[in-house]
């Protein structure tokens, strides 16, 4: 009816009748979200075989029914015009985004043509790196079978410091490894947690805390998101969290407000540090012949094994070894942190936090931990065989993530935070922080890195792991790094997740060697996932004198027309998350809860309408074509028809496979024979599985006999793995000793002083800027917004309307000093480059800091966005200011911009200068416009799939 006719027909009944019970959908298909890394359960409502609506699954342990903006916008991700449609073979120069569509047969033939000779002659010349991959236990197996040592996922440029700092200190960390005890915590302190991190679980948890009136303290230079609802905000200066934490430690020690009983029983605080200067024993921990830690028993004064049934470990005893008096770890620790250099007055200026504030926070932590302590009436037995009547609550919980870890001092900062948690006795106790199975898992239960290459054969073991000392480094016989990213080398010995941000740069430089084929999955390495994207793009396109590319072959798998697609010779189009099988496996990065072990699947709730294949299924095929062990039967035929076949039938150890639930006849959990109906059983169960920990095993897990037995029972490990927390890290001391000249494996001389300094076995803080360059006084940061993940969000018609561009947020102090007004732009410079960007005032910001949303800025022509979309016109990346190498030091060496312990990309060490400029039409730099790799997007959407 036209409007005029409507106006004329005004004889209306008083109230229209509304259809209040419309049919919601014909079917609900339950699967797992992949709009970010949280892996929530979703109900996908279907109409006529199409996705009509997505909501959270109420039964799911991760999100308990709720769903964030990204999750609800999944419907716009599976219809995104940026979806790749068919394999692509490059026809123009690399970087030009010019392709021809080819068949899968032709694409895989080409891949084999490149990969087969590499495998037969020098497997290390394949660099296979996956980005936000949730199938690492599978992709790593493929790489291991291929035989290259050059495999990792994105952890090195994400938050490896958090993971490694936690695992080396206490056998677990935050997020996938552990979570606050939301139901009992009375004080929650969060450090450096960006808005989008651990999306729904943290929001659900904050909601619970708020409901109970628990207090939230946030430590973050930027007050947005979770930090916005905190009761107290500490707008700390970036990179100084470790110093701030150690000042709190100083205060707690000075006042004796620490959990002595916990330290004595469950940590290596009572261990004896050998004092033997000038020998290869100095600084090591005293052990018996079988390698068991020894402590002094408080009652008898005798040395005893730390896990002896009757031992009461002394924190303060001394013990004489070879005529030298040796002290406990605790004594060394107390001496170290009681030093005035850690006093609040000494650190306040650097941290941008007043001494009084630091003292008050320390007092608040101590008050809640000890005066609001409570007991759970839950008897349990510890690993020494002692029965405890109750579980003692210390209701202070911490959480931290990338803000403290993406600095070159991040590993030690993470260790400092764990030291604080442990001194308060608040890890694995009621009200504190709790591990999620398969964690706790000490370093001893993790593999070591492997790097032995044999042409035509698999690698000698898993690529990634946890080094126990210099003997485990991934070095070649001449002492140079075995891996293209130099992980597990003297430059960054404990690089448990590899260094994806160094792969292209090192491969281009031929340092330590050149590669033949770069094979990447789901990692936007020519754009927001790289430091220095302009430089990286040039490395990918640079040619030798003979016209060949310096990096000869690039294969890239992705579901979408990202910026990286342009730099591939061969593009393998992946499916969207609703069109595929996946497993969120206990062998990998599972979705456990503190109260149970859980895993999950994805399954094709819709079929692709394009000629695309799930990447993992493609690897099953490619593995068979290459005749990789583990991917073929004895007769050479393909072993796994597709990824779903692998998920169901692969066994990592007898009876233990990718999925723990519904094994054997469907009733076995954890261990059991492969069950052909397993995936259907998961689907019927909402696409997840959870098995709960017995009540008496829910806390004190590393030391709880009932937990250890349960973990063995369900196949997390094959024998109990009890251990004590390592406040003092002996592996770190071993690297220090190597730098002092002990041991056979010796670091190059230029790294000795650095290793001695940074590999302190007790946590330390150091300034990450050791240059005298004072031209760049301002700290610059990024974080993702809550409604966006990675670069994926911009192709999403709904999400890009929430965050379509990203100003540089400037503190009040900087705003005033530069006389900025609304609508102004700024030129921002770093030692590496400059950008021109729009600015906006944010008063709730550390005074010396600027920041922006990351991954909103897009290159023109990517992601099926129209030209001059705000993401590319005004949006920008801070990445252009960050180089993967530190500025040259004049020694001819390439110093990576990474944590010297783990190789974590030091994104947040960026310092800049800022200058006001008038309004601009485009942000700078602008890379050349890409021709789109996919057809043009529709102009308008009216998305209604049902009648």
């Amino acid at each position: 009816m036209n409007p005029f006719a409507k106006l004329l027909s005004l004889t209306r009944s008083p109230e229209p009748v509304v259809e209040t019970s419309p049919r919601v959908s014909q079917e609900i298909r339950k699967t797992t979200c992949y709009m970010c890394a949280c892996r929530c359960g979703i109900n996908v409502h279907m109409k006529e075989g199409r996705v009509a609506y997505i909501e959270g699954n109420r039964d799911h342990p991760v999100n308990q029914g709720v769903l964030c903006a990204k999750g609800s916008a999944g419907i716009m991700q599976v219809n995104a015009p940026s979806r790749l449609r068919k394999p692509l073979k490059r026809v123009g120069p690399r970087g030009s985004n010019q392709f021809e569509e080819v068949s899968w047969e032709e694409a895989l033939d080409l891949a084999v043509e490149w990969l087969e000779p590499v495998r037969q002659k020098h497997p290390e010349k394949l660099a296979f790196f996956t980005g936000r991959d949730q199938s690492q236990s599978f992709t790593s197996m493929w790489a291991q079978s291929f035989g290259t040592p050059n495999y990792a996922a994105h952890g090195g440029f994400c938050s490896v410091n958090m993971a490694a700092g936690g695992i080396y200190t206490m056998g677990g960390a935050f997020w996938e490894f552990g979570q606050p005890d939301w139901d009992h915590a009375k004080l929650f302190m969060l450090f450096g947690v960006a808005e989008d991190h651990d999306s729904n679980p943290i929001k659900i948890g904050l909601g619970k805390l708020k409901k109970r009136g628990a207090k939230v303290i946030s430590v973050n230079p930027v007050r947005t998101g979770y930090n916005a609802v905190a009761d107290d905000w500490v707008g700390i200066t970036p990179g100084t969290d470790g110093l701030f934490i150690l000042a709190i430690v100083h205060e707690l020690l000075r006042a004796g407000r620490i959990d002595l009983d916990y330290l004595a029983r469950y940590t290596n605080a009572p261990a004896i540090v050998i004092h033997a200067p000038g020998t290869d024993q100095h600084g090591r921990l005293l052990k018996d012949e079988d390698g068991h830690l020894l402590v002094v028993d408080r009652k008898t004064g005798e040395l005893m094994r730390y896990d002896a049934a009757e031992v009461e470990p002394s924190l303060t005893a001394t013990h004489t070894v070879n005529g030298h008096e040796c002290q406990t770890v605790f004594r060394q620790l107390a001496d170290k942190y009681l030093d005035e250099q850690y006093a609040p007055d000494a650190v306040a200026e650097a941290c941008g936090v007043s001494p009084l504030r630091i003292r008050q926070i320390a007092a608040e932590l101590a008050r809640v931990a000890f005066e609001e302590s409570f007991e759970l009436d839950r008897p349990w037995t510890d690993f020494r065989g002692r029965r405890h009547d109750k579980m003692i609550g210390r209701p202070v919980s911490f959480h931290a993530m990338r803000g403290i870890s993406a600095h070159a001092n991040g590993f030690q900062t993470c260790r400092s935070l764990h030291l604080l948690q442990i001194l308060l006795g608040t890890v694995e106790v009621p009200g504190g922080m709790r591990f999620k199975p398969p964690y706790p898992k000490p370093v001893a239960a993790h593999p070591k890195p492997h790097c032995k290459v044999t042409p035509g054969k698999p690698l000698d073991g898993p690529h990634l792991g946890f080094v126990r000392g210099p003997d485990d480094l991934a070095l070649r016989e001449d002492g140079t790094p075995a891996r293209i990213d130099k992980a597990f080398s003297w430059e960054n010995p404990m690089s448990a997740h590899g260094l994806m941000h160094m792969v292209i740069s090192n491969a281009y430089a031929g340092d330590p060697y050149k590669v033949d084929t770069l094979f990447m999955y789901m990692a936007n390495m020519s754009w927001n996932s790289s430091m220095n994207p302009g430089g990286v793009s040039a490395m990918l396109t640079d040619q030798n004198d003979d016209g060949t590319y310096v990096i000869p072959h690039v294969i890239y798998a992705d579901a979408y027309a990202s910026e990286m697609v342009a730099y591939a010779d061969l593009v393998l189009p992946d499916t969207t998350y609703l069109e595929r099988h996946d497993c969120i496996s206990l062998l990998d990065r599972p979705i456990g809860e503190a109260t149970g072990a859980a895993d999950a699947i994805r399954w094709p709730v819709i079929e692709p309408d394009r000629d695309v294949r799930g990447f993992q299924s493609v690897l099953c095929d490619l593995g068979a074509r290459l005749q990789l062990p583990g991917f073929v039967r004895e007769d050479g035929s393909q072993l796994y028809a597709d990824y779903a076949d692998y998920i169901v039938n692969h066994e990592r150890r007898p009876g233990v496979g990718p999925l723990a639930g519904f094994r054997g006849n469907g009733d076995s959990h954890g261990r059991g024979a492969p069950n052909p109906d397993q995936i259907q059983r998961y689907i019927d169960n909402g696409s997840f599985f959870i098995t709960h920990i017995p009540a008496e095993a829910e806390y004190y897990k590393p030391w709880n006999a009932a937990y250890q037995d349960w973990a063995v029972d369900i196949g997390l490990y094959d024998a109990p793995q009890h251990y004590v927390f390592e406040l003092y890290s002996e592996p770190m001391r071993l690297f220090q000793m190597a730098a002092e000249g002990y041991g056979e494996r010796q670091p190059p001389d230029y790294l000795r002083e650095r290793l001695k300094r940074v590999m302190s076995p007790l946590p330390i803080w150091y300034d990450t800027d050791d240059s005298d360059d004072d031209r760049y006084p301002i700290r610059a940061l990024t974080q993702r917004p809550m409604a966006m993940y990675h670069s994926w969000g911009s192709q999403n018609a709904w999400l890009r309307q929430i965050h379509g561009e990203n100003p540089l947020f400037v503190s009040q102090k900087i705003w005033d000093e530069h006389g900025f007004k609304d609508g102004d732009w700024a030129r921002v410079k770093s030692p590496h480059g400059e950008i021109s960007v729009p600015v906006a005032l944010q008063a709730a910001l550390n005074p010396y800091t600027v920041w922006t949303w990351n991954a909103i800025g897009k290159r023109q022509g990517a992601w099926a966005l129209e030209q001059d979309a705000p993401e590319s016109k005004r949006g920008f990346l801070l990445n252009h200011l960050i180089h993967e190498l530190l500025p040259p030091k004049g020694d001819g060496l390439r110093w990576s911009n990474s944590d010297p312990i783990t190789g974590q990309a030091a994104w947040f060490d960026l310092r800049v200068s800022i200058q006001k400029i008038g309004e601009q039409t485009h942000s700078l730099p602008q890379m050349p416009v890409l021709p789109s790799a996919v057809p043009n997007a529709p102009r308008d959407l009216k998305w209604q799939v049902g009648e």
């Binding site: 009681l338 308008d940 009216k942």
Partner: protein, 249 residues
């Protein structure tokens, strides 16, 4: 002109907790998804992948900074949708009667078959809570998910607005604000729930719970820790005494 009901049997509405809202936009997109597929015309997106995408949203989150004189600046996230006012000016201004307030539950709706897209209601709404859909030419607004809250095809627990069901922090509450014994009315009473711009006399049904006081001033009398002993050696002695006093020692 349309008349408002003299009274409504119930006053269904939302209570939004500004102390807990983290500004994640989950409510915005759940609303967009549900109402694109359900009540009336889909919520369109004009220029969806272009230079100035302009979609219809029934709920948006605004963020503000508040700078108290003696404490750090605060960030407040403020979700806003139709407040289902008792004196809804959008209803009385409607020339066709398309905008109306239900006498049963107080929900303000637009009968799209009668809407001529003149935009008077959006102009009259003091809260800017209505959006004209550019593709369909009809006025769109929050329906309080009238097609969910009574929907017999949904499990009972899900008969709440999409924004409430999805809110991860639990900052959104739905119920009858006309019933003083309802959970939402009690919450409003406990937490000092407020009307948005009460001086305009629109008498909104939705209520906002204000943020709790934040950032106790540094000069406050919050305690600091006293040293257990003057020197480090004193600490060790204290530890020995403390451990010796523990049960089981």
């Amino acid at each position: 002109m349309s008349d408002l009901p003299l009274s409504t049997k119930r006053k269904l509405g939302l209570v939004i907790d500004l102390d807990t809202c983290v500004g994640c936009h989950a409510c915005v997109v759940a609303c967009k998804g549900w109402n694109t597929e359900n009540y009336g015309a889909p919520l369109s997106d004009i220029g969806a992948y272009g230079q100035a995408p302009a979609g219809t949203f029934l709920n948006r989150v605004h963020s503000y900074e508040i700078s108290p004189p003696d404490a750090p600046t605060q960030t407040v996230h403020f979700p806003k949708s139709c407040l289902h006012c008792e004196n809804a000016p959008c209803v009385t201004v409607c020339p066709t009667g398309a905008s109306y307030k239900r006498s049963e539950d107080g929900i303000v709706l637009v009968d799209e078959s009668a809407c001529i897209g003149c935009g008077l209601c959006a102009w009259a709404c003091p809260y800017g809570a209505r959006e004209l859909d550019a593709a369909e030419g009809v006025m769109k607004k929050c329906t309080l998910c009238v097609d969910r809250i009574y929907n017999e095809n949904l499990p009972e627990i899900d008969r709440v607005p999409a924004c409430v069901r999805t809110c991860p922090a639990g900052a959104r509450h739905f119920g009858d604000l006309g019933d003083p014994d309802s959970d939402v009315s009690k919450l409003v009473a406990e937490r000092g729930g407020m009307d948005l711009m009460p001086e305009l006399d629109a008498a909104p049904t939705n209520k906002y719970l204000p943020p709790r006081p934040r950032d106790a001033a540094e000069t406050s009398a919050a305690p600091v820790l006293e040293p257990v002993a003057a020197e480090a050696g004193g600490l060790l002695g204290w530890i020995d005494r403390a451990l010796a006093a523990m049960p089981g020692a």
